[in-house]
């Protein structure tokens, strides 16, 4: 990235002059991302909707990307900048790995992303923020970890679960009631899709599973074998099961009162 800055600074997000505008620019925004850890790994998932103002600009957008073999980024916020940020982030991790011959530590990767978000602060002030979640398998500590960010690049490690984006309030609330520390991988993916369903239920900018068009959330799992994205068949199985149950109980599973 330093090399890029020295040679072709126009390719770096932070080095572009800011356009002088009044009010917010209308650009596609990504919405809800959730993550949850389980013993042996971490799940990162996102809905598929992108919105522009009150319009749905894309139904099948992808907002969860592998950063490298053992980590992934889920993005909420201005889609154009977010995708570019992820691309640059992927490039940087790969470049470091090739030049140095070793892989960055998970903390190192998380810190790097933090710097990149901070570089976008100018744009964020104009309403074009990017707020990702970074999740990965820590090879040294042998556990899945989640890092969440704020617009200024502030980084905090989340224990258990995290959510970002417009539907994150609802997703986090739902996940809070469903999450337990001893969930298996398949239970965690189900809990995560449940929380996305709830987010879509309450937030107009979050898309639920679209059974008619066969558009399902992107669910990824990172464990000691590396990054894996669940196939459409696997996610459709989860989404359909949840949908069936919701036909009887529209608000989903109920947590005990005490």
């Amino acid at each position: 990235m330093d090399f890029l800055g020295a040679h072709q600074p126009e390719l770096l997000p932070g080095n572009r002059p800011l356009p002088a505008v009044q009010g917010a620019i209308e650009a596609p925004h990504g919405t809800t991302i959730v993550a949850a850890t389980f013993p042996g790994g971490v799940v990162l998932a996102g809905d598929r909707r992108a919105t522009m103002g009150n319009l749905i600009s894309q139904r099948d957008v992808e907002k969860v990307f592998p950063a490298d073999e053992y980590s992934a980024v889920g993005i909420a916020g201005t889609l154009g900048f977010a995708v570019e940020m992820v691309k640059l982030f992927q490039l940087e991790l790969e470049h470091f790995e090739k030049v140095e011959g070793t892989v960055l530590s998970l903390e190192g990767k998380a810190n790097r992303l933090s710097t990149m978000i901070r570089g976008n602060l100018g744009m964020a002030m104009q309403g074009l923020a990017v707020v990702p979640i970074f999740a990965g398998w820590d090879v040294d500590r042998e556990k899945g970890r989640i890092f969440s960010y704020d617009v200024t690049g502030g980084r905090s490690e989340e224990h258990g679960f995290a959510a970002t984006g417009s539907g994150s309030l609802f997703a986090r609330g739902a996940l809070k009631k469903l999450y337990r520390e001893d969930l298996t991988e398949s239970e965690t993916t189900t809990a995560v899709v449940q929380s996305l369903y709830d987010a879509a239920d309450e937030d107009s900018a979050t898309g639920g599973p679209d059974l008619g068009r066969r558009i399902y959330p992107i669910v990824t799992v990172i464990n000691e074998d590396g990054f894996k994205r669940l196939t459409e068949a696997e996610v459709s199985e989860i989404a359909r099961t949840i949908h069936e149950r919701r036909l009887e109980a529209p608000d989903g599973p109920r947590a005990p009162l005490l």
């Binding site: 890029l4 072709q8 640059l88 790969e94 470049h95 074998d225 990054f227």
Partner: protein, 255 residues
């Protein structure tokens, strides 16, 4: 003030070439050859930390002999070139041909510039294609020329001898184990016709495997896998089966 002696350009160039060739000839060799599923790189290199063979990009790898600091410099330059190009345009727009051209320019400029000493390196840039006929192997000698190679190529100390040995025995559609066996045999031949024996610890082996599911096709063959491939040498029937195994073993999925 003393007047410098006149040295004819021919003589100057010949001296520089001689200097570079001698430097290269001191080092151990690297062999690169095509096998059924891709391109195999075998280097005699007792060091685990200083690599002679490395990844440049998705389908491109780099092998070098000569002075470590000089070819390491070129390798990092290559990685930068490839990553920058891939980021600016698309991953498909990074080609071995383009990279070989950049290297040729760099080496050529340094070779003919009177201010610098010529690099004592010889490089190989290889790109694995969708099929064996799409594979590309370029050899770049110290003076900045490019040689387009097919089948097999050797650079370094005994390059001529090893190349002729390889040329006689290399055929298309070798399995990984057969290719590795051939490469190790050729590297083990001495200047004066004798044979040394090379163990797995003395070898640096890597492949560009077109059957790998990931985008990045480069993979080092290490430890137990390498030992198993070397052991299977004796029985060609087994070696065919062993050759398949590395592709299946890589369960890690990147994208």
């Amino acid at each position: 003030m003393t007047t410098p002696f006149y040295v004819s350009p021919q003589q100057a160039m010949a001296d520089r070439a001689e200097y570079a060739r001698k430097g290269i000839a001191r080092g151990r060799s690297v062999v690169v050859l095509q096998y059924a599923d891709g391109i195999l790189f075998v280097a005699e290199n007792p060091s685990r930390a200083l690599h002679k063979v490395s990844e440049i990009y998705d389908r491109i790898a780099f092998a070098a002999v000569g002075k470590y600091n000089e070819f390491e410099n070129l390798r990092i330059g290559g990685v930068r070139y490839a990553d920058l190009r891939g980021y600016t345009y698309d991953r498909d727009d990074v080609t071995a041909r383009g990279l070989a051209n950049v290297y040729a320019q760099t080496l050529g400029t340094i070779f003919s510039s009177a201010a610098e000493k010529p690099y004592e390196v010889e490089l190989i840039v290889a790109e694995v294609g969708d099929g064996p006929e799409d594979d590309q192997i370029y050899r770049l000698p110290h003076d900045g020329s490019i040689v387009d190679e097919h089948g097999s190529v050797a650079v370094g100390g005994n390059a001529d001898q090893i190349s002729s040995y390889l040329d006689q025995r290399h055929r298309e559609g070798l399995t990984l184990a057969e290719g590795l066996k051939l490469a190790v045999e050729s590297l083990a031949r001495d200047n004066n016709g004798g044979e040394r024996s090379l163990t797995a610890e003395q070898l640096e082996v890597a492949v560009l495997d077109r059957t790998r599911p990931q985008q990045r096709k480069f993979k080092r063959v290490l430890g137990s896998q390498l030992a198993r491939l070397l052991e299977s040498e004796g029985t060609p029937a087994d070696s065919a089966a062993e050759g398949e195994s590395p592709a299946e073993e890589s369960t890690d999925t990147e994208e």
